[in-house]
């Protein structure tokens, strides 16, 4: 881990070890929550989360005055606590993305301005902590190993990101500070999300309750209307899910149906795994791998579709009921009427 000073922590507060930082500054979470004099920090924390809902608004920490620096870290840590208390998952995601965008700008500037060895070291270590990518400075550029580059760049679709359109020498890809930061954008977001998810759920701190409730209300407005539970399961899928839940052996085709149906309905892989846990031959690693394969996240990268009613009939998986009239794919079941 990079050893960060107050300035770096104010810029990249998600890198701070929360407990350690508070202790070092001589505060407790309780004080942050209740202390009258610290009310501005609580407001700032709330504003920081609220800003995330405003598309296009990026939170800019004030890092010009050194006495303000700890406030930036406190307000971030407190924002995480608030999000955790309110259980607002969509909001947390938005918050992470917004914070990441702010950090991106700062990180790009830090990379671009890094001249001395220690500056370069600090900036590259921050990147390594965030993404695991080992970058190095070479002339005016930053270089990353080809395999690290490829893993990330293949998800970008612009032609400039094709390997052939890059300077590649001795196994290293040359990037500008801007490109370097762009390359790890997703990991920056993921890192912040994981910090929020990994934070311990705080005891209900009275001083923060009001804020947390307001965030829950914001979350309710954010939640997409067609959430995971939208539409009922088609009878064939219900049957497959029940077979699994009963711990009976479901055919390969039946498992395929269940998984592709749930994926298409927007379930995430961790949401789906429990459906398979009761299978007599259940192995977590295998199930995860298979789901990732079906979702197109591994290997060839093609996501598998949910099969048609006709195909399912030939496979003997169809359990048609009158409500199935007029649909050709289980995904249409109970949707839009």
């Amino acid at each position: 881990m990079a050893v960060l000073g107050h300035l770096e922590l104010a810029k990249y507060p998600f890198l701070a070890d929360a407990g350690g930082y508070l202790r070092e500054c001589g505060f407790t979470l309780g004080q942050l929550a209740d202390d009258r004099d610290l009310a501005p920090i609580r407001d700032q924390a709330f504003a920081r989360v609220a800003a995330a809902v405003d598309e296009g608004k990026v939170y800019r920490p004030s890092i010009e005055t050194s006495s303000h620096l700890p406030r930036e870290v406190f307000s971030f840590l407190l924002a995480v606590v608030l999000l955790k208390m309110s259980g607002a998952r969509h909001l947390a995601k938005k918050f992470a993305m917004q914070e990441a965008r702010g950090a991106e700008t700062l990180l790009e500037r830090d990379l671009g301005r890094a001249r001395t060895t220690s500056q370069v070291l600090l900036a590259t270590e921050i990147i390594r902590d965030l993404s695991g990518v080992g970058i190095q400075k070479q002339e005016e550029h930053f270089v990353v190993p080809v395999h690290e580059y490829l893993r990330r760049a293949v998800t970008f679709h612009a032609r400039e990101w094709k390997l052939i359109n890059r300077r590649v020498e001795s196994g290293l890809v040359y990037l500008t500070p801007h490109e370097t930061v762009r390359l790890i954008r997703q990991e920056l977001v993921n890192y912040i999300v994981s910090r929020i998810e990994g934070a311990a759920t705080p005891p209900q701190v009275p001083g923060l309750q009001g804020f947390a409730e307001r965030l829950s209300a914001m979350e309710a407005r954010l939640r997409p209307k067609t959430a995971v539970s939208s539409g009922e399961f088609a009878p064939c899928v219900k049957h497959a899910a029940k077979t699994m839940a009963d711990g009976d052996n479901l055919s390969h085709a039946g498992r395929f149906l269940l998984a592709t149906f749930l994926l298409a309905r927007g379930y995430t892989i961790p949401d789906i795994v429990p459906y398979f846990e009761k299978a007599p031959d259940y192995k977590k690693s295998v199930t995860l791998y298979q789901l990732e394969h079906l979702a197109g996240k591994s290997g060839k990268g093609t996501a598998y579709r949910c099969q048609s009613c006709q195909k399912l009939k030939t496979l003997g998986l169809c359990h048609e009921i009158p409500e199935c009239a007029g649909i050709v794919n289980p995904l249409q079941f109970g949707v839009g009427r």
Binding site: G171, H293, K300
Partner: protein, 369 residues
């Protein structure tokens, strides 16, 4: 294959696998690989798990397959169907095939014969009237030399640009090409999309004119020969001398961006390494096993130090020189082991087993009982 031909090939292979089992290069982590094989009389058998050399020896001597394959991938459960195997990694492979180079000499060493009766014939069969023909290309030194040059080009790009110098093994495919295997732990973990990018890179496909210093506003700042990567290679291979550079600059400023883009797009085959991209990107494929015999030629897939100097018609000939009687219809001569065979027009001849096997595998000769 006719029964006497099939049993001759079987005999050759069994003897080879019995006597020269040491020629076979066993993969690392053998129990994690998927094996497959094909016999003369049946389809492909895949999803086989073998634990050690003894397992393989039993398979070879019992099934006596015409082709033997092994995955470049490692799996947790190699004998399961693909979606359930649990892929771990797969070393990177590039495939170069002389067939894809389409050299001018190709027609001169391609035998055309009747699909049904095997009679050598350019059009509808003079003997049985059947219309379908089969084209079989036979040994050609120029084709192999050209394929070797492509392999050399690939090795250079791998080393200079991609930094891959160690763990690279080149094999003659056993028929008309080369397989380049790259054993690199990091690259082995890449998925299909990443491998496609590597394939495009070495093949010089998809480059934008901007990368070569040509933009829409026509201020061309062309690459210099001393530069690394594709810019340097382009400067050396296309722009050439100083005079060439200024001529190119003039051409670009008169023809413009689009003309340049078209021109560069057409250079993949002259500048890039001509690999089969489908092979490189497939992470679940099984490949001919090094040291086994290629059923299309009776020659073996063998390692080769320098593909540019490799003579497969000596180094990959592994069958015996015992005399065999065949009836051969081979319109083009073949050179193997520095000897010349043919051309034969439906003749009874006695040739060494390796040459007999070569012609029989190509459908150009039949064993006389």
């Amino acid at each position: 294959m006719r029964p006497p031909d099939a049993s001759f090939i079987r005999r050759c292979m069994r003897r080879y696998y019995f006597e020269r089992f040491d020629m076979i290069e066993l993969p690392s982590d053998m129990p994690k690989r998927e094996f497959g094989y094909r016999r003369a009389d049946s389809g492909m058998v895949r999803h086989i798990q073998l634990h050690d050399a003894a397992d393989l020896r039993v398979l070879l001597l019992q099934a006596v397959p015409l082709e033997v394959y092994v995955s470049n991938a490692r799996y947790l459960l190699p004998s399961q169907p693909i979606p359930e195997k649990v892929w771990e990694d797969a070393h990177l492979i590039f495939d170069i095939d002389a067939k894809d180079l389409n050299l001018e000499c190709r027609p001169s060493h391609t035998a055309v014969s009747c699909e049904r009766c095997g009679h050598g014939t350019p059009g509808p069969c003079e003997r049985c009237g059947h219309r379908g023909v089969r084209k079989t290309s036979v040994a050609c030194n120029s084709c192999m030399k050209a394929a070797g040059e492509q392999a050399g080009r690939l090795l250079e790009i791998l080393a200079d640009d991609l930094g891959v110098r160690e763990g690279v093994r080149v094999y003659f495919s056993g028929n008309e090409g080369f397989h380049v295997h790259v054993h690199d732990e990091q690259l082995a973990r890449l998925g299909a999309a990443e491998r496609t990018e590597l394939a495009d890179y070495v093949a010089f496909r998809g480059i934008m004119p901007e990368r070569l210093g040509v933009t829409r506003d026509r201020t061309a700042s062309l690459p210099r020969p001393s530069e690394g990567g594709w810019r340097g290679r382009f400067a050396r291979g296309v722009l050439g001398s100083k005079a060439g550079r200024s001529r190119a600059a003039r051409e670009i400023s008169s023809g413009g961006y689009d003309a340049f883009a078209r021109r560069v797009g057409g250079m993949a085959s002259s500048l890039g390494a001509r690999i089969d991209p489908g092979v490189t990107m497939d992470v679940h494929r099984i490949f001919r096993m090094p040291g086994t015999i290629n059923g299309k030629s009776g020659m073996a897939k063998v390692p080769c130090e320098d593909p540019k100097k490799f003579d497969p018609y000596v180094s990959a000939v592994v069958l015996s020189d015992e005399p065999v009687h065949v009836r051969a219809s081979c319109p083009v001569p073949i050179r193997m082991m520095k000897r010349r065979f043919g051309p034969y027009s439906n003749e009874y001849v006695e040739v060494p087993a390796y040459a007999a096997a070569y012609m029989v595998c190509k459908g150009l000769a039949h064993v006389v009982e």
